[in-house]
């Protein structure tokens, strides 16, 4: 999904950096609220709400139509990639 979105935006899919968060300590240090977390230039594609707990869990995304999903809404991903693509 991410690779496709990058290609669609004219960005290099090989620029993805995958990081494994495997301890509660590293989750807290990295402000990791669940997997997958996708950050573009350090910014979360769907920034978590204030106070959302960090931890080793699956992440709950809210789609634009209101449904919950383990993946972000493709439109949110496109929006997040747009500034990078414009550079």
């Amino acid at each position: 999904m991410l690779r496709e979105a990058l290609e669609e935006a004219g960005l290099d899919p090989d620029s993805i950096e995958v990081r494994e968060i495997d301890t509660e300590e590293s989750a807290e240090r990295e402000e990791f609220v669940g997997s997958p977390t996708i950050r573009v230039d350090g910014r979360d594609v769907q920034p978590p709400v204030d106070g959302e707990p960090t931890g080793l869990a699956c992440r709950v995304y809210r789609r634009r139509d209101g449904r919950t999903s383990p993946l972000p809404d493709p439109e949110d991903l496109r929006d997040a990639l747009r500034p990078a693509a414009a550079r």
Partner: protein, 175 residues
Amino acid sequence: MPIAIGDRAPDFELPATDGERHRLASGRPPATVIYWTCNHCPYALAWHQRMLEAARDYAERGVRVLAINSNDAERYPADSLEAMAERVESEGGWPHPYLHDQTQEVAAAWGAERTPDVYVLDSDLRLRYRGAPDADYDDPSQRAAWLRDALDAVLEGRQPERPETEPVGCTIKWR
């Protein structure tokens, strides 16, 4: 070791959000659905309404449904019995009990792996289907079709054509 198709399911008795304890081997419904779920897994949440709708639809045919949460509530407080009860209340009630497997012994005995992980038993409490509710968590129009197919078969005295599928979801959070 997970229970296999045709095996008699291990009995259990667990507390639920309704304040009651529920035992598997009680009554004699024509079919029983046991499914593992939890409060925060996005896959379980995505399939949630489909599971409730199936439970409502098949209640008319005497099918018993029990949901079990076996996640470690110490690491995941959202899966405590109190949080489970709050969720059920906030959603206006569920059509079936929501059980808490605090020791995780039931999940271990059954070989449950994920949320959701769906088991369909016949009237003798023998396993007839195990797997996902349907083929796509992201497609509500599927309406838990694999679960419904399995229930239709069991209620008609047939073996489901698709007795096993791969459970899809978050892993159960073990201690």
